[in-house]
Symmetry: C2
Amino acid sequence: MEKKWVYLFTEGNKDMRDLLGGKGAGVAEMTGAGLPVPPGFTITTEACNEYFRIGKQFPEGLWNQALAAMHTLEEKTGKQFGNPENPLLVSVRSGAKFSMPGMMDTVLNVGLNPATLEGIARLTNNERFAWDAYRRLIQMFGKTVKGIEGRKFEHVLDKYKAKTAGKQDTDLTIDMLKKVVEDFKAVYKKELGVDFPDDVHEQVSQAIEAVFASWFGKRAVDYRNFNKISHDLGTAVNVQMMVFGNMGNTSGTGVAFTRNPATGEKALYGEFLTNAQGEDVVAGIRTPKKIAELKNDMPEVYEQFLATAAMLEKHYRDVQDLEFTFENGKLYMLQTRTGKRTAQAAIKIAVDMVKEGVITKEEALQRVEPMQINQLLLPRFDEAAKKKAAFLAKGLNASPGAATGVAAFDADTAEEWGKAGKAVILVRPETNPDDVHGMLVARGILTQRGGATSHAAVVARGLGKPCVAGTEAIFVDAEKKLFKANGQTVKQGEFISIDGSTGEVFAGSIATIAPDFKKEVDLNELLGWADDVRRLGVWANADYPRDAIQARKFGAQGIGLCRTEHMFFETVRLPVVRQMILNAAPAQALLNNLKRAEENLSKKSEDKAMLKAAAEARKAVKASHEVKAYEGALKKLLPLQRKDFEGIFTAMDGLPVIIRLIDPPLHEFLPSHDELLVEVTTMRLKGKKTKALKEAEEMLAAVESMREQNPMLGLRGIRLGITYPGITEMQVRAIFEAACNVSAKGIKVHPEVMIPLTGHYNELAVSQTALEAVAKAVMSEKGMEIAYKFGSMIEVPRAALTAAEIAKYAQFFSFGTNDLTQTTYGYSRDDAEGKFLLRYVEDKILPANPFQELDQIGVGQLIEMAVKNGRKVRPELEVGICGEHGGDPSSIGFCHKAGLNYVSCSPFRVPVARLAAAQAALGDTTRDK
Amino acid sequence: MEKKWVYLFTEGNKDMRDLLGGKGAGVAEMTGAGLPVPPGFTITTEACNEYFRIGKQFPEGLWNQALAAMHTLEEKTGKQFGNPENPLLVSVRSGAKFSMPGMMDTVLNVGLNPATLEGIARLTNNERFAWDAYRRLIQMFGKTVKGIEGRKFEHVLDKYKAKTAGKQDTDLTIDMLKKVVEDFKAVYKKELGVDFPDDVHEQVSQAIEAVFASWFGKRAVDYRNFNKISHDLGTAVNVQMMVFGNMGNTSGTGVAFTRNPATGEKALYGEFLTNAQGEDVVAGIRTPKKIAELKNDMPEVYEQFLATAAMLEKHYRDVQDLEFTFENGKLYMLQTRTGKRTAQAAIKIAVDMVKEGVITKEEALQRVEPMQINQLLLPRFDEAAKKKAAFLAKGLNASPGAATGVAAFDADTAEEWGKAGKAVILVRPETNPDDVHGMLVARGILTQRGGATSHAAVVARGLGKPCVAGTEAIFVDAEKKLFKANGQTVKQGEFISIDGSTGEVFAGSIATIAPDFKKEVDLNELLGWADDVRRLGVWANADYPRDAIQARKFGAQGIGLCRTEHMFFETVRLPVVRQMILNAAPAQALLNNLKRAEENLSKKSEDKAMLKAAAEARKAVKASHEVKAYEGALKKLLPLQRKDFEGIFTAMDGLPVIIRLIDPPLHEFLPSHDELLVEVTTMRLKGKKTKALKEAEEMLAAVESMREQNPMLGLRGIRLGITYPGITEMQVRAIFEAACNVSAKGIKVHPEVMIPLTGHYNELAVSQTALEAVAKAVMSEKGMEIAYKFGSMIEVPRAALTAAEIAKYAQFFSFGTNDLTQTTYGYSRDDAEGKFLLRYVEDKILPANPFQELDQIGVGQLIEMAVKNGRKVRPELEVGICGEHGGDPSSIGFCHKAGLNYVSCSPFRVPVARLAAAQAALGDTTRDK
């Protein structure tokens, strides 16, 4: 039997998206539900695939089936395709499974030619309408089906409009329209070498082919690659009877949402125009009316539409985005689809629909994209200030968030200003990899050209910075370093403000405000449901008490990462830290020698003379300048660190706090090598042997001795703790003194000490043993017992590969996925993002920036291995993640599947993580519930 | 039944090493073979373990069993322990399963007291001998059993010797010896507070306990830790009848090897002394006679010994190291053990014994340590030059090889001179981690103190540098920067020569010679057998034709790694390379823009005006300064690289050659950043705006723009190839042009192109596809077909983790284990070795330097995974290793087990690898043979 390539709308339903595309399934569903949908048929996605498979020709039977379907349309409508007496006109549209930019748009009015035009004019008694419809057909067909540049038609229209008083389309007379048609046909012939087809079947057949061809158009292919959509899906083609909203004042067209897509309010939201076609609403030539006004203008149509909208929302159990037309008082539904909405609306609608009994809580949780919450919690422009600001243009909302700064027109300037501490917005015609160094320091990015998948957009989202892209309404003159928009000129160094969430661009600076989490009632309700559902704990990374308090407000259930060394950078502490560092190596050498001597001695401890000599040696070492300076600095740091920890423990009363011991290479705390080198060179040339020169030379020598070729892989983390045990011992002492002090005040403390960068279990055997001894000594001094854990970060592949051995020591694992990604890929993030990584993402060599989205295949494999093997040895092993991935929804999904106990992320990501964790649990069919 | 703690020598055999220790099993075996062994018994290792288990006391039954065994001795010898009439004297020695420094030595003459002394004097008619034996007992017992410092006894002896004419032990009169005994007893009493025991049973019981205790002595524990010997083994104790070589001129003692342990020559090799005890031979007081002279002195003893030696060698099927004594013309065998031998001897003996039919070829292959071959092929001192050189001292041969250089007495000086290109020998009293930076650049290391496991020795072996350690005969004055030895003084900056294979130190410089591999007939024969046995191929790393030729001489079966960029560093090429680098980024940006423009254009290719504009744009880009400079440099490099490859292909006629495309970050080819910064700063201060300043500034800016925080993890390898495809395309063109040219001359070429640092299969998808197109284009131009492979290095963990995906593209894998170790551990080798890694090895945190010896647990796990998963996708996948581990025997063993096809190592390691591969195959019980 011949394959069925064509389905009437009456033959399909919403579950046939694969075969009929989203649009085809949607109109079929509406048709089946008895809604007033103009009749039509859908050519299947299979037909599209077959078309390509057999070398770009219609598969056998397709055309005959289409003709038969057209015949059915004719019977239903009483009109006939190509018959001047009562002509049937149709629209032809693409409709893939997923809506996709770059696919062919609509061609309207197919079926018009000089003969049927006469019939339409006669039947509608509206000659102007008929000629206008005909010129629209030629224009759309020429541009969309044949790829003639739009401006060639616009040029003709402009010429005639210029001759009218109002300069508008609607001012064109019938005669003018006739001439426009004539000129359009000439353009068509000139561009393509053939006449515009009069044969209506040729029109429809060419339009169908154009839809097929657009499946492999460059933009569509790029879009699918970017969004990881298969190229095998194919597109369907929808052929549908035309209805006309422009047949007079009882005709019209409109779009509407069943609820407000900006706020989520439960009320019809949309607009309409009488005597207009769909494209007129979009074109913005006339100002449309609010949907509520339809009640006055066309009460019957309004009531019918209201009922239809309610019915559709109930049918689809979600907000619908509707397109409708009424022709001579008769309502037609052209399209329904799930309505896109803002973050705020998404949350309110989800919560409201649960309360209305439309959906379950679980469904509500899956209706909100976790990152939408992040958007809600991003800094926003103060609405009052924004209203007063000078609007310049609206571009693509390519990467959310609001930013204010001075305009810089090249990456070098942006970098220079940014590094000097200025807030900069990088403004470029478009960006390319040479601009990345400027993008890295900019607060936001504004481009004139390029879409949602342009370089600027991809990089900005990768960096988490606001970006407005493709702002075609501005003109950037990179040479003159200015841009023009809305009649204004913005020069380099002048303030602008961009809203990456809305795409708006303003002149001047606008104050930003942080939203108040507590007041987000719906969000909190939704997150409460999320908490009931999720298995993963959500902890936060916080270095200071203020961060801990913030994290707790957002619902964090613990601190997964407190970076002790961040406290070292504070201005008052840095001199002490430097004193410690500069003396660490010589002091430790003296102490090590002493230790060795004492070990040798212990064998012959009866010898009093030797004991005496040893005591003197010990005294001498302890009295040495280096040891005194080193141990003195540690003593000064102890109470400062203790105070920090007391603050965090107090803030996290009752919850666990993981404190990581010192991690970065020590030279990070010293002055810049290059600056010192220039300073010393300059002072030497000036010739004076001053004390300042000597000091600078000493500091340079110290910095040089600590310099590393690849500090990321050098003396840091546990290696530092083993080399200079005094530092980590001081930190552990501070942690346990703080814990005891705070505990004495009735606060519940759960300290967990985290050792970074372990690669071999022996490293833990050495350092953890020594550090636990310090912990026990402190508790014994204080006469208290505090339950604690010692554990390790897993951040080099070897730690993951040997997790079973490491778990013999570590009571918990925390995946430091930033470092683990660096070592698994062999990427230094600092170098890679600027030099090749973002380009790799742009060129699709990597599916995503692995520092943003966890590489589940590679890094994830190590994580799964470590969890499995670690728990074999220690079933109660506590496992979490504290890299930036802890706040990324897709990574959180992975963490759930990998069986982690918690994710830890920055405080502002905690709400995101709570929802993402719930979605992971809901999507996990293996879980016990 | 009571456990058997004591075995008579007649009850054991050589297979009972676990229970009786090596020495006990050896004497038991000899006893069983009917050899003249003084009778005795062995207390088992189990007794030792039990002794510690129950709190340092003799286990039940031990003492009674020992007394019973002693009684059997008495019956056999007719003497009685403690009986003044006919006293039995015994020796007490430790004897663990493995011989081990730090274990208790021998105590001789146990059983002497004032009463039995009289008996001995009477029976031997030698009063002096009796008193001398007694003072030796007190001295050895006091020192070895009781831990009294040796010098306290030496001091007494020296006092009396000073009163004699000859100043020798043998000059002491009987009266003097009596006074020595009196004074020794006083020392004993003063040190320990008790009298020296007269009770002979107490003597033997305390000696046994001392042997037990020495099992947990510090040196023994350290040694076991270092050599990974279990602490559970325990030591046995051997109690044996004393025989006396010092009973007059028909008595004597000696040591001998059954073959020459230096050359392997088949002839008894050893020496003896008449009228002497074993320790006299070692002490070097009298010059011993060659063993051959025994034939004249004591023909019967000699014949008996000759027969015994032959019998023992046949019995043990290996060279034996024998100790013997003859007492009044009667031969006693005291010990036999497998003889240690030099590399040369090991090889000759193994080959000879095969020819003699004593052992099989397989056994011969297992008799030689692969690294001994390396020693044989290391540069050695020219023997003639060495004989003329001024000998200074002999220390421990801590790390093999010969080195000549100027003495530097501190690490900073060594570093400074070494970096300036001087050959330096670092001379230190002993080394510690602060000296490592000097050791890294030194040609060799000489220390006064410290043993085979001292810091200097461990680090030097780790670095593969010659080291003479523990040279107690020199005195290093680090302050005055000189050392004294053999009456001479060597000052800083003066030449010295050290032989790390022999431990010799000489003044002045000595010429070194490279041995002639071809002339090593035995070695070549042995390696021939190895080739028959091994499954692993042995390839070499060679960058130049001369290296390839050398490698082939050593038996390499291919080139596993040819680093193309090494050719870039040559002086004539560097300016061209820099021209390429400095223009690469701007040129590539222009070319990329052009490419994008042309892609956009292709959609509308009918537009002639646009085509013309595009052609002009193309012309402009190609004419730009940057593109001309960049492409011009590539054009200049092409013929140079082609010539290199032609040379290598010619050298390797018929064998595969793997050429790696450019790998290091480009800034490695540019001048030093710091030097430029100083230069620019200096020129700026001098105030003139010269052309030189401008050039220096431009170069500095270029260097800064390419600088990376962690270049190891930056823009290198395939990332470079993807960013600047022109470079790798030039290289591939050079490879295939060379292959075609050489092939046309009848040489068989097998080029394999290796892409470094792949982390994601898409990187190969992009670059391998483009490069294979170049290869095909060249072959088509040349009208030739050359079989080739494209493959990837596996050197970041992600590549190993995703090997299945990578193998879809790569036809071969080559493990770059240097990088893979760096990323798996998160160690930068450049930083780690100096800063903490060697210390980690010294402190046993790591079992070995993972850059020397492959980390089988961590890195190895990734390798196994990659081999398995890669071969699943591509069963014929060729897999090798080209990191430094390819020449390390234990790593080669791992590579065999992991199923690799070949190992590739430096040319000089090829013979080592051939043997190691054979041993791996012999040890592999799973192989098909």
